[in-house]
Amino acid sequence: MLFEQIQLETDEKILLVVRKHWFIPFTKIFALASSALLPLLLYLLLPTLITTIDTTSFVDIYAGLLIYFYVIWLLLHWIALANILTDYYLDLWAITSRRIIAIDQQGFFRRFLSSFRLERLQDMNISVKGIIPTLLNFGTIEAQTAGGSNEEFKTANMPDPRGLKALIISAADARQEQINNPNVTQQAHAGL
């Protein structure tokens, strides 16, 4: 599994694993479900839309074939659903007591894994734009790290960005204090 591959350091604890807000896969699944039901809708509406052709007898004659193709259509949607859920499940931020690990899964064969140590955290910004993100409390979270490359970690549609920012800053402060004073345990300072 993931954390066996990442190989956490000794005393490194996972504080939080966070995925994108549920609204993101929900919209995709809703669109997929609509597409899956489209042929049924056409079947119901066709007789009223096309009155010049007797569509009922066509459907009666080719019922078996139509069901055959509809089942294939549903199976393709089932596969697409697995793609959406895989993308959602494997795309995550893992916040540990030492670092932040950001995993960006794009399809099956494009996977980006980046991490930075909490003591390198320089700045954190969050932005919540739009009516739905404001109502459902999700937005973009951005972390800038100190160092030669001045790297920037940015992920959109993260749930509760304020809470996430507070947790990361608190963990970063605790880590900094632990480095400055190794005798004090990190958890005691972070209150986590």
Binding site: F3, I61, V71, L75, A82, L92
Partner: protein, 78 residues
Amino acid sequence: MKNPLASIDFKASLVTPEVLWLGFFVVTLVFTIHALVVMYHWLTYGTNKNFSFTAILIYIGGGALFLLSLLIIIFAIT
């Protein structure tokens, strides 16, 4: 009552039983390869083993139901 499933004149249609079987084998192949790829990803990069196993079982079970339905339909109309 006339069975609408058995009413296709295959000689007059482009969709022959061979085409139906070919379609079945193609989607079975696509689903099998996809299921293997999904299984690899969920078991390698997932964060919870039990959750990953359950999700894979549901996915393969659901896909198998669709494929079984296809088989039944093919037998019914040929």
